[in-house]
């Protein structure tokens, strides 16, 4: 049986536990965390809620390890308790909200719903973001009925998470999607260049799907087709919903809202794929609205698709935002895959931070 930890007991943690939770360790891979044994799991559960954890133990790392090792109802209840702890640091409560977004159980949804209007904006935004991943009909009803948040970041997150749940559940209804509107002709200067798009090899595709497994409950990604997009120094993967590669699957675009694709970023140092954008589609009249979103709700591109026979043709244009490349992509999706041509224009300058008052000379 695991021993009660105390301020002097951090030294007695196993090497793997030390690497997982001590402040001077850097990171432990999900595979390694999943190897923590049942005694170590019990220690994690205790450390997560201990008011005075042993010196050097970081409770945000404890939460991360716990979610990786045991994404179950018991962990959801533990994290819900941390989220409820109004006296705890907002940063720790925000981490608990992030963790709950990785646990697709009812207890996680309930815990998150209690904090969609948390007085700490960072906690509320993470709670709403996580609900987008794990929320179901109950979360959808509550989010749709709440008054729009005043904080612009939270409001953007709320709009996105509400839509994400509706699209995951393939529910029609709700307010019409907001269309930003783009003006490609006025969108930029400089020489356009082709947008690179290549099919991902089978091994890399399998690895990416493994990394993203379970991130969006209810959304299954195609195991036989995916694309690399290399628009800068980093590499992004476009992974299509499995439905779209099935027989008559393209028709589903015109039937109900759906999460049509996930764009993942390949982390060059770990070789892992992490979710970066989602592509949401929604029938609007005879056409299908196509919109790309970052996970904080920022819209990245939008356009329309037309579904006919065995193909869907589409055109999407980047939303004009600080720090983003401008691009226009036109293509066709069939059961055989995606063909597209694109134009890429230079990046708009990022937002500039201001000097703090104390540092002005």
């Amino acid at each position: 049986m695991a021993q009660e930890t105390s301020p002097s007991a951090a030294a007695e943690l196993s090497p793997l536990m030390k690497r997982a939770v001590l402040d001077d360790s850097r990171w432990t891979s999900p595979e390694a965390l999943r190897r923590l044994d049942s005694q170590e799991l019990e220690v994690l559960r205790r450390l997560a809620v201990q008011p005075d954890p042993p010196a050097g133990v970081r409770q945000d790392k404890v939460i991360t390890a716990l979610v990786e090792r045991a994404p179950d109802a018991a962990t959801a209840r533990t994290l819900g308790g941390i989220l409820d702890g109004a006296a705890l640091p907002a940063a720790l409560r925000a981490v608990a909200a992030v963790g709950l977004g990785r646990i697709p159980v009812a207890a996680a949804e309930t815990a998150l719903l209690a904090h969609v209007a948390d007085k700490e904006a960072s906690v509320a935004q993470r709670a709403v973001q996580s609900l987008g991943y794990v929320g179901g009909t109950k979360a959808l009803a509550q989010l749709e009925s709440m008054p729009p948040p005043a904080d612009p970041n939270l409001r953007r997150q709320w709009e996105f998470s509400t839509r994400l749940i509706r699209h995951r559940l393939r529910r029609r209804g709700g307010p019409p999607a907001r269309v930003e509107g783009t003006n490609w002709d006025a969108a930029g200067h400089g020489e356009p260049r082709a947008l690179p798009l290549e099919r991902i090899g089978p091994e890399r595709l399998e690895s990416a799907l493994r990394d993203l497994h379970g991130r969006l409950p209810g959304v299954e990604l195609a195991a036989d087709i995916g694309y690399c997009i290399g628009v800068d120094r980093s590499l992004q993967y476009l992974l299509l919903a499995r439905t779209l590669s099935a027989r008559d699957g393209l028709r589903s675009l015109a039937e109900a809202p759906m999460v049509a694709a996930v764009v993942a970023m390949w982390e060059p140092r770990t070789g892992r794929a992490v979710m970066h954008h989602v592509v949401l589609t929604e029938p609007v009249g005879d056409a299908v609205l196509v919109q790309g979103f970052r996970l904080d709700g920022a819209r990245t591109f939008e356009g329309y698709a037309a579904v006919g026979g065995d193909a869907a043709s589409f055109t999407v244009v980047s939303v004009d935002r600080d720090g983003q490349c401008r691009y226009r992509v036109a293509g066709e999706l069939t059961r055989q895959g995606l063909t597209a041509t694109g134009e890429l224009r230079p990046r708009r300058s990022p937002r500039r931070t201001e000097p703090p008052g104390d540092s002005r000379d």
């Binding site: 402040d23 001077d24 360790s25 850097r26 990171w27 891979s29 595979e31 390694a32 970081r58 945000d60 991360t64 940063a91 925000a94 981490v95 992030v98 960072s122 935004q125 993470r126 973001q129 970041n153 997150q157 628009v231 800068d232 120094r233 980093s234 993942a264 970023m265 982390e267 060059p268 140092r269 770990t270 070789g271 892992r272 992490v274 979710m275 970066h276 970052r294 996970l295 904080d296 920022a298 600080d322 720090g323 983003q324 490349c325 230079p346 990046r347 300058s349 990022p350 937002r351 500039r352 931070t353 201001e354 000097p355 703090p356 008052g357 104390d358 540092s359």
Partner: protein, 236 residues
């Protein structure tokens, strides 16, 4: 020949008139770094090959009622001083330190970074209007101590990672080594040869360099790589 503070201030830092050692030569506008800092060494390093450091406080209000606390800026100051010491062994200096911030009211989710994708979004959304390497200080990063590309761009308008992101949740010493490590990546360094090297070692091949407060050495070859990065400036 000894280097004077006034010479460096006017010739390297673009400063004339009254010069404060801590505030202007070191750039520590929020107070001392809570560790010794030697003027002579800094004057030599600032005059030699060096780069400028742009510290970005993620979630700040001028009165410190935001996410970034006074203790945080003291830790950042410590980390910059520690980085200066570690880089001094390969004759690379940090010349100017700029301080900028992401306002608390606009910070959104960025005080806690979940993964490299969010770190990248942060560096895409924000940058400081100066000639330093953007180093964003956040409260915590959930799957690493910091994120940076290897050999980052000098054009802050380039898409993708255009800065390093560092968490403030470790000890002062660890944050110092971590800052030297991530900025080292930005300046072109890959994984190091062993655990006593600033760039650590990836002993289990998981893509994450293992470092500790004992990761304090740099090789001459690593120094040469950093000194040849486009962010590094010639002697002044």
């Amino acid at each position: 020949m000894p280097v004077s503070m006034r010479q460096v201030a006017s010739g390297c830092l673009g400063r004339s008139g009254s010069v404060s050692m801590r505030r202007h030569v070191f750039g520590y506008v929020y107070g001392p770094p809570n560790r010794p800092y030697a003027l002579k060494l800094q004057l030599e390093r600032a005059k030699g090959r060096a780069f400028n450091f742009s510290a970005i406080l993620v979630g700040h209000r001028d009165d410190f009622s935001g996410t970034i606390s006074r203790a945080d800026v003291t830790r950042i100051t410590y980390a910059i001083q520690r980085t200066r010491e570690l880089y001094a062994q390969v004759n690379l200096g940090i010349r100017k330190v700029y301080w900028t911030y992401v306002p608390e009211d606009e910070v959104g989710n960025y005080t806690t970074i979940t993964d490299a994708a969010e770190a990248r979004d942060l560096t895409e959304d924000w940058s400081a209007d100066n000639d330093g390497i953007d180093v964003f200080f956040v409260q915590s990063i959930l799957n690493a101590g910091g994120w940076s590309v290897q050999s980052g761009p000098c054009d802050k308008g380039e898409k993708g990672f255009s800065g390093a992101v560092i968490e403030l949740s470790g000890s002062d010493d660890f944050t110092g080594v971590l800052t030297a490590h991530e900025v080292g990546h930005y300046l072109g360094l890959g994984t190091g040869p062993n655990s006593t090297n600033v760039m650590g070692v990836d002993s289990n091949n998981d893509g994450i360099d293992e470092i500790s407060t004992a990761s304090v050495n740099l090789t001459s070859s690593q120094g040469s790589t950093m000194r040849s990065h486009c962010s590094t400036r010639g002697p002044c």
